[in-house]
């Protein structure tokens, strides 16, 4: 209904085209919040230039043209950039304005004087000298008294005087010039009151919050050097803070137009940076880099942005902005599957302010009512939502990091537990293995023991082998005597018979005593042969381990001879002197004769071997005085360490002695200095065991390197 009425009204106005026909205004023509834009009304006439009398109702209006305020352009400026002129219109308020307090408001900066019926109603800025633009920010409307039903002549004198290189209001699009001058109702006054209040609230919130975020993020950078994401966030919040200051800067103080223009440009710049930097962060979070394409788009958008805001050439900016949105939209799309957890907050933190910005612009263009209601809120959203989301990002990252740390800790615990279990299992396995090995070892030990006894046996047989030749020789001598003396006796008995037959008693007596002596010798040498055989058998027999009273001196003597002849039998070139220094006081002592015999034999064999080795070298030298000698001596000492007395058997040679380097090894099993095949390496080791373990004695060596070595057997007396 109202639309139809308005339509009728415009039709009427168009028909009554005469200048002095008053335009009737109705409260229904109010835009949002009781604001009636007078600038686009049809009844305006215009004349460029200035004459104060043009305010007068009766002044001549010939030469004035029909032209409303929204039709102003920069083309009208003179060479100093000044545009000046007068507008006139006749208006009449209908009854809808009855009892309504009215005012005049302006949203543009051009200095303007408003005359009503030839009287100056109000000056906005100063049109004169000096020129003073009018600051329209957060200003209450100027009250005017217009009585409904009466006709008024409104005359406007305006001056716009700015350099051509800044964005001038008159360059703005016609719809921006609509708010050149407005008639307002009380609701608009309320709106201004509310606007002032909200502005201060939001300014305070935005600046303090963005300052805090700025400080917080830079603190994060300072505390976490090397975290690139924090640096990006901190730079971003820096632009947010700057942007906030420049967005709201004109509400903080009575700003001059020149400063306002600078603020406007910087604000436009900052806003573009904010948006693009946000997109940079998004790209970085998704791809860990900022592509060259992004930087190019950033520069292009920024250039387009400046031209748009300086020269109102908005098409390139629109295109660049669209390309930017597509470019970053593409990045998000490509990586949409990789966006995880906290990264969503970045996406939201970038998309939301972008949407808010688009919403802000759209609202401003298409729904001023809503815009006026929510502009500060939306503006704050465009400014603050990003850093808030970044804060959320950090919180979520923190949570994720904590979760990851917890996860890692759990893993460590799990691994530890696993390892513990593994160790326990291994312990079991090890125990089992140890058991098995022990078993195997026991088995090996048994095998070794039997091998050892076999070795001992073979060692015995080896020394027996050495003995045999000696025995063969040794046994020849007594046999020689037994045979020859028995033959002699036969002969002597024949002679005796002859002498007896001849009756020569004296001769017979001599012969008989010879026979007796011979048969004693036969007996002696027969026994000797018997002893040799017995000794050999004793030696080869496995030790009975039975200790029995043994004549150590006889044992030593016997084995010395056996050994000597054994070696002689094997090696004809071998020769050596052997001496005995036997202590007659020893008597018989309790030992295992086979074992001690073996030890003595072994030591004597070694001694002969040593002197022979030396003789092989020394004997070849001309004029040598080296005489290979082996001495066996026995002594009885009454003052042993235990006070029990002891028998000491020393086997001394004048061979090459034992080098210090092998001194510690000679009693080890299988250690031998003899060429391969000539020694078992067990002799001394077995000897050592026999003396120390079998008899509680000691087997020591005095390894004189040049003087030859002396082996000392110490047997304790019990």
């Amino acid at each position: 209904m109202r639309t139809i009425l308005t339509l009728c009204f415009f039709l009427v106005v168009n028909i009554c085209s005469a200048q002095d026909t008053a335009i009737t205004l109705s409260a229904s023509m109010f835009q949002s919040h009781q604001r009636l834009f007078l600038a686009p009304l049809d009844g305006w006439i215009f004349r460029q230039g200035h004459d104060p009398s043009w305010a007068d109702e009766n002044s001549d209006i010939t030469g004035w043209k029909k032209f409303n305020l929204t039709e102003l352009t920069a083309k009208m400026e003179d060479n100093t950039g000044r545009v000046e002129g007068w507008f006139r219109i006749k208006i009449k308020l209908d009854s809808s304005f009855q009892n309504m307090p009215l005012g005049i408001s302006r949203d543009l900066w051009a200095a303007t004087d408003v005359y009503i019926n030839g009287e100056l109603a109000h000056s906005f800025g100063n049109t004169g000298n000096p020129y003073q633009p009018y600051n329209p920010i957060l200003k209450y409307p100027r009250p005017v008294t217009l009585i409904p039903g009466e006709e008024y002549l409104i005359a406007i004198h305006f001056v716009d005087y700015e350099t051509t290189f800044t964005q001038r209001e008159i360059r703005l699009k016609p719809q921006n010039l609509q708010r050149f001058i407005n008639l307002t109702g009380p609701e608009y006054t309320n709106l201004v009151t509310r606007d002032i209040k909200l502005t201060h609230i939001y300014v305070t919130i935005c600046i303090s919050v963005s300052s805090l975020l700025f400080l917080l993020f830079w603190l994060l950078v300072f505390l976490n050097p090397g975290q690139k994401i924090f640096v990006l966030f901190a730079r971003y919040t820096t632009f947010i803070l700057l942007g906030t200051i420049f967005i709201f800067g004109n509400t903080l103080f009575e700003i001059s137009y020149s400063v306002e223009k600078v603020r406007f440009i910087v604000m436009s710049f900052s806003q573009a940076v904010m948006v693009i930097f946000g997109l940079f962060i998004l790209e970085w979070v998704l791809t860990q880099k900022i592509s060259a394409a992004s930087w190019i788009i950033f520069i292009v958008v920024q250039i387009a942005n400046i031209t748009a805001h300086l020269f109102s050439i908005s098409l390139p900016f629109g295109l660049a902005f669209t390309i930017m949105l597509v470019h970053f939209g593409r990045i998000v799309y490509i990586h949409r599957k990789n966006i995880r957890g906290a990264q969503w907050t970045i996406v939201a933190g970038i998309i939301l302010p972008t949407i808010a910005t688009i919403f802000y612009i759209t609202l401003h263009k298409y729904s001023l009512d809503l815009f006026n209601e929510y502009d500060k809120l939306i503006l704050s959203m465009t400014v603050l939502s990003s850093p808030f989301f970044l804060l959320t990002y950090i919180s979520m990252r923190f949570k994720e990091v904590l979760a990851a740390v917890k996860d890692e800790a759990q893993k460590v615990i799990d691994i530890t537990e696993e390892k513990r279990q593994l160790l326990a299992n291994q312990n079991l396995v090890l125990e089992k293995q140890v058991e098995e090995r022990t078993h195997e070892l026991k088995h090996s030990l048994e095998t070794l023991k039997s091998t050892q006894s076999q070795l001992i046996q073979s060692e015995k047989m080896a020394s027996l082998g050495e003995l045999t030749a000696g025995i063969a020789h040794e046994i020849q001598n007594p046999l020689n005597f037994v045979n020859n003396f028995s033959e002699l006796n036969t002969e002597l008995i024949d002679e005796l018979q002859k002498e007896l037959a001849a009756g020569s008693v004296q001769s017979a007596g001599e012969i008989v005593s010879d026979i007796k002596s011979n048969s004693e010798k036969i007996n002696l040498h027969g026994k000797r042969a018997g002893d040799i055989v017995k000794g050999m058998l004793q030696h080869s027999r496995t030790s009975s381990g039975q200790k029995e009273p043994t004549d150590i001196n006889a044992l030593c003597d016997e084995y010395l001879r056996l050994s000597y002849h054994g070696l002689r039998a094997k090696d004809k070139s071998f020769t050596a002197k052997f001496e005995t220094e036997l202590d007659k006081a020893i008597g018989k002592i309790n030992v295992v004769p086979q074992d001690i015999g073996r030890v003595v034999l072994n030591l004597i064999n070694n001694a002969f071997y040593a002197v022979n080795e030396k003789f092989k070298v020394e004997g070849q030298k001309p004029g040598t005085s080296y005489e290979p000698t082996v001495t066996i001596s026995t002594t009885r000492s009454l003052s042993s360490a235990e006070g029990r007395g002891e028998v000491i058997i020393k086997v001394k040679d004048n061979g090459n002695g034992i080098p210090d380097s092998i001194k510690d090894k000679i009693f080890q099993p299988f250690f031998t200095t003899k060429p391969t095949g000539q020694g078992t390496g067990l002799g001394l080791s077995l000897s050592y065991d026999i003396i120390t373990k079998g008899h509680g004695g000691q087997l020591q060596v005095e390894p004189g390197e040049q003087a030859g070595s002396t082996f000392i057997i110490t047997l304790p007396l019990k």
Partner: protein
């Protein structure tokens, strides 16, 4: 004829003196005894240039019979005395060495005195 018997067995003296009782009594042989190679060399030094037969055992402590033989034959005296070595039965090795060293004859243990006397007669002859 003077015969030097070298053996480390003391009873050798009794054996030889009895075995050659008649020959000694007749003054056909004269015996000297040494109980080691070293003793033998000393005696030989003392009896230089006397016609002499040496009967030596091989296995003796100290200087062996073979060394004695070597000494007598190679370095000792001119004319070298006749040396007979007494070897153990089947001791081919010693036999060979003694032969190389210039031993004049060999006896094996147990000493066959009948054979020895024959050899001495031959030697005398």
């Amino acid at each position: 004829m003077k015969i030097l018997v070298v053996d480390d067995e003391q009873d050798v003296k009794a054996l030889f003196e009895q075995r050659f009782r008649k020959e000694i009594k007749d003054g056909r042989v004269e015996f000297a005894f040494a109980y080691s190679g070293e003793d033998a060399l000393q005696l030989l030094n003392r009896w230089e240039h006397e016609a002499l037969l040496i009967l030596s055992d091989i296995n003796m402590p100290g200087m062996s019979g073979l060394q004695l033989l070597e000494n007598v034959k190679k370095r000792y005296m001119k004319p070298p005395p006749v040396v007979m070595m007494i070897t153990a039965y089947g001791d081919a090795e010693n036999y060979k060495i003694a032969k190389e060293l210039g031993a004049d004859d060999f006896l094996t243990k147990p000493v066959d005195f009948v054979a020895l006397k024959e050899k001495l007669n031959l030697t005398n002859g």
